[in-house]
């Protein structure tokens, strides 16, 4: 039983890591601010989500599992707000969204 749980959490954490990689690659490759924001939030919710899921399986007590879940929710909330604010500021700051020519 323990090894199945172990493997499952390992797999989840690796998937999470993959999404972080996707986020970073997106950050470097995308042409302008607004696309990069998508990459950023991908790494946030999905990448961290899988890592958190993997860790919850291994979490000792219920309290620490709940704490890790809370951390994920907080990151979701503040990440989304930050992305929204940056996008609004960039738009007002005169940065034109990228158009495929």
């Amino acid at each position: 039983m323990a090894s199945v749980l172990g493997w499952a959490s390992a797999a989840l954490v690796l998937v999470g890591a993959f999404f972080f990689l996707a986020g970073t690659v997106g950050l470097l490759r995308f042409p302008d601010v607004y696309n990069r924001l998508h990459a950023l939030t991908k790494a946030d919710n999905v990448g961290l989500g899988f890592v958190v899921l993997g860790l919850i399986l291994q979490a000792g007590s219920l309290l620490s599992a709940f704490k890790i879940l809370l951390i994920w929710l907080l990151v979701l909330a503040s990440g989304a707000t930050a992305a929204h604010l940056v996008a609004t500021a960039a738009l007002r700051g005169g940065i034109k969204p990228w158009k495929h020519r």
């Binding site: 601010v33 924001l37 950023l40 990448g47 961290l48 860790l55 979490a59 951390i71 940056v86 500021a89």
Partner: protein, 92 residues
Amino acid sequence: MPELYLGVATFLLLNIMVGLIRILRGPTPPDRMLTAQLFGTTGVAILLLLASALSLPALTDVALVLALLGAVATVAFVLRAWHKPDLDGEEE
């Protein structure tokens, strides 16, 4: 298992290093700021992984605080730091 978590933590650290390029190259300040925001999230992930890899439960609290305060710098940047040069900013 801890060995794997440490490996993933190292991988995420390398992610941050690569992300630094965007801060250096990013044409506009908002690019840089959102990269810093991404670092915050990656930092939280690394801390959580270290917490279970090194069996240091206190690092979860550190991750909790970092998650809470990750957005403060971005908010400060957007509201206080980055103005469009001629926009004098209407009084709130």
